[in-house]
């Protein structure tokens, strides 16, 4: 059997397929960030938290949800909970979780983010940072930090033996599903009439509103869409990484670096840089595993030196 750079092919293909999976999550998250930033001029720090919320939502749909309510025990206030049973598997979760989390996001946008219109974008970053801390803290209180396993539907378990490696079916499914969502979002924004209106509203909201289009509603829907994509990524990630309140916290920092590398100006750019950096991380895990945690940040530093506006960014 051939060897590439002294490493066995099983290692190469294993890490590259994992890299492609991580790249799928980077692509989905940075795509959502780009869509939201384009329309709201806000960098959504809560993106990691809604990704995690998407995974938790899937877990609730499968295992049921405990609704906490306060009770009086010997004159003291305490929390009790009522179990709301649910046995909806991942196929349901892939639809329902983005829907619920998207609605939650739209409520956040309507009640809070909207109040920051016309202010410096850093306030959006600070507000969403606070929201992320609240969401993550609440779930950590309820579920600790250890993580809960999430089972995949029977169809997706198992895998194919390709001769040179064993490829789990679920990895194929994640890459295909994320590509479909990425391509679909790109198509909807760049190639449809709705997308054209959206892009116009990004450029000049007042003018588009003058044509009788409800721009505030459009902004809310855009935020909901960006958040729903993150929740979709969270559902896909649930079986791979465990469902954990901290699963989005470090990921969001990496995705920020991806966004700096790709530039937030282009939808396609954020998708391509997401997959690309996932693959590069996979390669690093084979060649020099110690550096796999920092490679994305190192690449970001190099890109900043060579091309400050990002690989796909327009020079400002």
């Amino acid at each position: 059997m051939f060897q590439f750079m002294h490493y066995p092919p099983q290692l190469w293909f294993g890490q590259l397929s994992l890299g492609l999976i991580n790249g799928s999550f980077y692509a989905l998250l940075s795509l959502g960030l780009a869509v939201i930033f384009g329309m709201l001029n806000i960098v959504n720090f809560a993106h990691g938290a809604v990704y995690m919320l998407g995974a938790f939502c899937a877990w609730f749909l499968l295992n049921g949800f405990d609704i906490p309510y306060p009770v009086l025990v010997h004159g003291h206030l305490a929390l009790a909970s009522a179990h709301l049973p649910s046995h909806l598997n991942m196929w349901w979760a892939l639809f329902l979780s983005p829907l619920f989390v998207g609605i939650f996001g739209m409520i956040l946008q309507r009640t809070m983010l909207r109040r920051l219109d016309g202010l410096e974008p850093i306030y959006g970053l600070l507000l969403t940072f606070g929201l992320a801390a609240i969401i993550q803290g609440l779930l950590q209180n309820a579920y600790g930090s250890s993580g809960e396993p999430y089972d995949i539907p029977g169809v997706l378990s198992g895998g194919h033996n390709l001769g040179f490696m064993f490829l789990p079916n679920y990895r194929i499914f994640v890459v295909v599903a994320s590509s479909i969502v990425c391509f679909g979002t790109w198509f909807a924004i760049e190639r449809t009439r709705f997308g054209a209106t959206l892009r116009a509203a990004t450029e000049n909201p007042k003018l588009v509103q003058a044509f009788g289009i409800n721009v505030p509603l459009m902004i809310t829907l855009t935020y909901g869409l960006g958040v729903a994509i993150a929740a979709f990524a969270g559902v896909l990630a649930a079986p791979i990484y465990q469902v954990n309140p901290t699963m989005g916290a470090d990921l969001i920092v990496v995705v920020f670096a991806v966004v700096v590398i790709g530039g937030m100006g282009s939808i396609l750019g954020s998708i391509i840089s997401g997959y690309m950096l996932g693959l590069i991380e996979g390669v690093t895990k084979v060649i020099y595993p110690q550096a796999s945690g920092v490679i994305v940040f190192v690449i970001m530093a190099v890109v900043l030196l060579m091309r400050p506006s990002g690989l796909f960014g327009r020079a400002s």
Binding site: V43, L125, G137, N141, V254, V260, Q290, G293, A301, L305
Partner: protein, 324 residues
């Protein structure tokens, strides 16, 4: 991009008096002189270190309009280098503090070159990513002892036995001297011609450039100065708590520094000090509450951004009609 913070105001000139600020600073320093006789000194020392960090951070966000989300890397570097010299090589802590500041300054210069190449929101993301890079280095490097951290930093006697830092009061007044020196230096920088140019860049960068100021040069200087002072606070904190750990470099610490400055008032000289005492006090009070601290901090963030953007000092000054 012109940074139009809520704290934005015309550069110091006619009609602005520095008197309220000077009275405030005098009151603050006087209160800190007597405070250890009434309040637990270790809480005060910890809060003073964070106060210096928040002031250094405020130099950047409040006066240069640059929101750094990565100040934990300077704090962590100062604290790790100081603890490393003291724990591994048995060097006196004053040498550790000097080395910590030097290392943080160097890191500030290196990351500053990269970070100021992007503006506005990208600047925040770049600094956050760079600080995560330093975090991973701290996790992987052998000298940091990973999860265990470096301890114990022996405070001991310094300057030929003149000062015994294991005595809480002697340590407290050393920390107070370091804080006061850093704080007054920042006050001096803000009110220097250099500080005026920074404010001009914050208000309208293209205009400052067209007037002949090298904006990038000024931003780089401000960034490096802020990094150095944050490193000083970090190294001092390592001496106070006798410990350097991964949480010092982690980005949630950057979030705490931002929160302190936001609560007290961005772009006010006393705001970050007040904010640091409030947030540290809250964390101390809620120490047993576990993850509720994170929830409450998040709530404070949300409330401040939505309703309270000037911070406590900023709001009070606005009510009293004082232009800071």
């Amino acid at each position: 991009m012109a940074a139009v913070l809520d704290t934005a105001r015309p550069a110091t000139g006619k009609g602005t008096s520095r008197r309220p600020e000077i009275i405030g600073i005098a009151l603050l320093l006087a209160a800190l002189m007597v405070a250890p006789f009434f309040v637990y000194p270790f809480f005060l020392m910890d809060a003073l270190c964070f106060a210096l960090m928040a002031c250094a951070f405020n130099l950047l966000v409040g006066y240069a309009g640059l929101l750094s989300f990565g100040h934990a890397m300077f704090m962590g570097t100062g604290s790790y280098i100081c603890a490393w010299l003291a724990v591994t090589y048995g060097q006196p802590v004053w040498l550790g503090i000097i080395a910590g500041v030097a290392a943080a300054t160097l890191l500030g210069a290196l990351t500053g070159v990269l970070a100021i190449r992007r503006q506005g929101i990208y600047f925040s993301m770049v600094t956050l990513a760079l600080s995560q890079l330093i975090y991973f280095v701290a996790v992987e490097a052998s000298f940091t002892h990973g999860e265990d951290g470096l301890q114990p930093v022996a405070q001991g006697k310094i300057f030929g036995g003149l000062l015994d830092l294991s005595q809480p009061l002697q340590l407290y007044f050393c920390v107070l001297v370091i804080f006061a020196a850093g704080f007054l230096l920042i006050y001096r920088i803000i009110n220097s011609p250099f500080g005026e140019v920074l404010k001009a860049i914050r208000e309208n960068e293209p205009r400052a450039i067209s007037l002949g100021y090298k904006a990038d040069h000024y931003k780089f200087m401000a960034f490096t100065l802020s990094a150095a002072l944050t490193g000083l606070a970090g190294a001092t904190k390592a001496v106070v708590v006798q410990h350097a750990s991964l949480s010092d470099v982690y980005w949630t610490t950057s979030g705490s520094i931002i929160l302190m400055t936001l609560v007290g008032g961005m772009g006010t000289i006393l705001g970050p000090v007040l904010g640091a005492f409030i947030i540290e006090g809250m964390q101390n009070y809620l120490a047993t509450a576990g993850q509720w601290v994170s929830v409450i901090q998040g709530l404070v963030f949300v409330v401040c951004v939505l309703a309270f953007r000037k911070g406590i000092i900023g709001e009070v000054a606005a009510r009293l009609g004082i232009r800071l």
